[in-house]
């Protein structure tokens, strides 16, 4: 489902459809997270991605609205086949390398099943995860900066008219 949704993102003619396919893909990923013994992460994924990111993207689509297109030519540029070959190459290569590599003794079940363990990991309290204290703080600052930047960049300049939205 994840992969099919991803294909849908790429090949859909409508932008809104692409956004919905994207959130479908996110849901699939979140399912994977559950299977990988990281339920808290799955919850995060759904909250942030499916919730916030999708909404933001939809907002973006709304503000930059274009009419629905009929032909693929309008939404796909000239690199279709070249891109396909290169991406397929990268994908196959990565898949093969990752699959063929000997990862040693693997056993499922190492993920932080309990939320408490997950929380302690994330905040840098548990054994061997001390670096995360710093990383957590840095991430917060980064988010702050991103918020400010987003506001600054998308400010309306003096003299610019009201955003009329639709182009024609």
């Amino acid at each position: 489902m994840t992969l099919v949704s991803a294909l849908g993102v790429v090949l859909s003619r409508s932008v809104v459809h692409s956004a919905l396919f994207m959130s479908g893909s996110f849901l699939g990923i979140s399912g994977y997270f559950v299977m990988l013994n990281a339920p808290a992460l799955a919850a995060f994924q759904v909250l942030i991605y499916v919730g916030a990111v999708t909404v933001v993207i939809l907002f973006g689509i709304m503000f930059t609205q274009k009419p629905q297109v009929r032909r693929y030519r309008t939404i796909i540029n000239r690199q279709f086949w070249a891109g396909f070959l290169v991406a397929a190459g990268v994908g196959c290569f990565l898949a093969y390398v990752l699959a063929a590599e000997n990862w040693g003794d693997t056993k499922a079940g190492n993920g932080p099943r309990e939320v408490a363990a997950f929380g302690r990991d994330l905040l840098g309290v548990s054994q061997g995860a001390e670096i995360f204290t710093l990383l957590f703080e840095v991430a917060s600052v980064l988010l702050l900066v991103a918020v400010v930047a987003a506001i600054v960049v998308s400010r309306r300049k003096m003299g610019q008219g009201v955003d009329r939205g639709v182009r024609e």
Partner: protein
């Protein structure tokens, strides 16, 4: 479950048992690839962002898969994945702000038409 053939039972066992590590990795790789392909071929800037998100998710998947399957990692890959999500969100915010600004000045989000760096 009683009453079902061995193959079916095996099939069902296979269904519910944990998939091998490589499975997750392959899915992650292909998700990445599809996202890359989309980023290369779509003209709409917002769609390109979406494809970038796909790529990030693919990587996250790989990360978390390793975190779960490799005993020596201590399960920390999950925390990394959280941070990645945070950063991706920040990136989306700023990126969309830029797209909006470009749209305001040029009335287009078609990246083919933003070619000032042609040389």
């Amino acid at each position: 479950m009683p009453g079902v053939p061995v193959q079916v039972q095996q099939f069902i066992d296979a269904l519910v048992s944990a998939p091998p590590l490589e499975g997750y990795l392959v899915v992650g790789a292909f998700l990445f690839a599809i996202g890359a392909w989309g980023a290369l071929i779509r003209r709409n800037a917002v769609v390109i962002f979406m494809c970038v998100e796909l790529m990030i998710n693919g990587v996250n998947l790989t990360l978390v898969a390793f975190a779960d399957y490799l005993p020596g990692a201590g399960g920390l890959g999950v925390s990394y994945a959280v941070l990645v999500i945070a950063i991706a969100a920040a990136e989306i915010a700023v990126g969309l702000a830029i797209v909006l600004a470009v749209f305001r000045s040029r009335r287009t989000v078609n990246v083919d038409e933003v070619t000032s760096m042609r040389g």
